[in-house]
């Protein structure tokens, strides 16, 4: 009775073993288990029951685990390429699949037209290309890395590296002077252009038509002026201290918040009030106004989405600055120490 339990155990182990070694391994394992059982039987003075054999088998380990120890160490993607694979998969999710899903979600929530076009289950069906993209991209990426792991490329990565070819340390809190100067130039140019165009007027002439903007336009114009001046102020601060600090990162978050709320507000508030022209009938003008405002209104969701992404990056920057400030050896100090040859 007891040996039947051992046979069942050995059979389960045998299932997972490589074909050419099955019998040999099982014969040896069976002999060991028999010897253990015999020793226990002579100690207790009776034949072991199933209940007494069970702990012996349990101690030996689960059949799959026992068999696994006889198998060669195998991995679809080995430890050399796995970190690269992880970075690629993370980037794929973060910069391709997640934004796609968020765009679908945003469109579903904020666009009534989309919901009307895709009623009920059709709404989920509209997500099918995304599912397919998920499966295909993850499958082909995994397959590519598995093949790479079995090719010469792996050996090149392991053996063909050069310390001089390694990327320089990335300092996420450093602000490049080039980008600050670019930002400053754009702000000044848009400010000048804005005044040059006389954008503070509600009424202007375009292509033989007179366009009248909504009564809220002057407020929008001056709000944009304040924003441009503030951006120039922060750019000057960044030129003086070319590192993100708590102050500059918080100011950037505040300004971006202000900018995207302003843009969203403009899109949602039907900025074109009237359109008149010699060859324009009131009905056609009304149609054009509605079309322009409708287009701007439909952009609101994208403005909100892009704004949310920008703000998320701004928050991340603040957290990074906080981390650096609370680290025992701050970033700038680390650079100084490194330059002194201590690190």
């Amino acid at each position: 009775m007891g040996m039947a339990l051992v046979d069942r155990y050995l059979n389960a182990v045998k299932f997972w073993l490589p074909r050419d070694q099955k019998n040999d391994i099982i014969a040896e394992l069976a002999e060991d288990l028999r010897a253990q059982i015999e020793e226990k039987e002579s100690e207790l003075g009776h034949q072991l029951s199933d209940a007494e054999i069970e702990p012996i088998l349990k101690k030996c380990g689960s059949p799959m685990l026992v068999a696994e120890r006889y198998l060669p160490q195998r991995a679809l993607i080995g430890p050399v390429l796995f970190p690269i694979y992880r970075v690629v998969i993370r980037s794929l999710i973060l910069y391709f699949l997640l934004p796609w899903f968020l765009i679908w979600l945003g469109t579903t929530i904020f666009s009534p037209d989309f919901r009307i076009d895709h009623p009920g289950v059709a709404l989920l069906v509209s997500l099918e290309p995304w599912w397919l993209a998920c499966i295909h991209s993850l499958f082909f990426c995994t397959l590519a890395f598995a093949l790479l792991d079995r090719s010469q490329a792996r050996a090149q990565i392991v053996n063909g590296w050069n310390p001089r070819a390694l990327p320089a340390e990335h300092d996420g809190n450093k602000i490049s002077r080039g980008s600050t100067v670019f930002e400053l130039t754009i702000s000044i140019a848009s400010l000048v252009l804005w005044f040059e165009l006389g954008a503070f007027h509600r009424v202007f002439h375009l292509l033989g038509m007179t366009v009248t903007l909504s009564a809220a336009w002057p407020y929008y114009f001056w709000a944009l002026m304040v924003l441009s001046i503030a951006i120039m102020g922060v750019a000057c601060l960044n030129l003086t201290i070319p590192r993100w600090t708590r102050l500059s990162a918080s100011l950037r978050l505040g300004l971006d918040c202000y900018l995207w709320v302003l843009a969203y507000w403009l899109c949602r508030n039907w900025p074109v009030q009237s359109l008149t022209g010699a060859d324009l009938s009131p009905a056609v003008a009304a149609g054009k106004i509605a079309a322009i405002n409708q287009i701007l209104s439909s952009w609101a969701i994208w403005v909100a989405l892009i704004g949310a992404i920008v703000l998320a990056f701004d928050v991340r920057r603040i957290l990074r600055v906080e981390r650096e400030a609370s680290a025992p050896l701050s970033g700038s100090a680390r650079h100084v120490t490194s330059a002194n040859g201590i690190l």
């Binding site: 391994i25 040896e28 030996c60």
Partner: protein
């Protein structure tokens, strides 16, 4: 309490890692005398190097595949058993590993 358990677990992991590294040397040394699996396990356990069957048999196969051990199936007490012993290569490697082991031991003694 949980910190104590964590420390125990860490110690146990490191202890096992340390012993695992020494197992091939212990097995090679014990196989200067011919043994079959079960008696080899008993011999090692009696000398304080307990090793479960799930670890020993795959290790014996690896050492044999590397040409350090030779084995043969033979009948003893009316039962077929696989007997292992050191190959000439195994004897030579054992000598080198013993020297290395003594050197590591001496270095650690020095460090302690």
């Amino acid at each position: 309490m949980s910190q104590g358990n964590g420390a125990d677990e860490r110690f146990e992991n490191l202890r096992q890692e340390l012993r695992r590294g020494s197992l091939p040397l212990a097995v090679l040394a014990a196989l200067r005398t011919e043994h079959y699996g079960y008696t080899l396990r008993k011999t090692l356990a009696d000398r304080g190097m307990a090793i479960d069957e799930g670890t020993l048999y795959p290790l014996l196969r690896r050492l044999e595949a590397q040409g350090l051990l030779v084995s043969e199936w033979r009948e003893e007490d009316k039962r077929n058993k696989r007997f292992y012993s050191l190959s000439p290569d195994g004897k030579s490697i054992l000598k080198q590993l013993s020297v290395e082991w003594k050197s590591i031991h001496a270095s650690l003694e020095e460090i302690f």
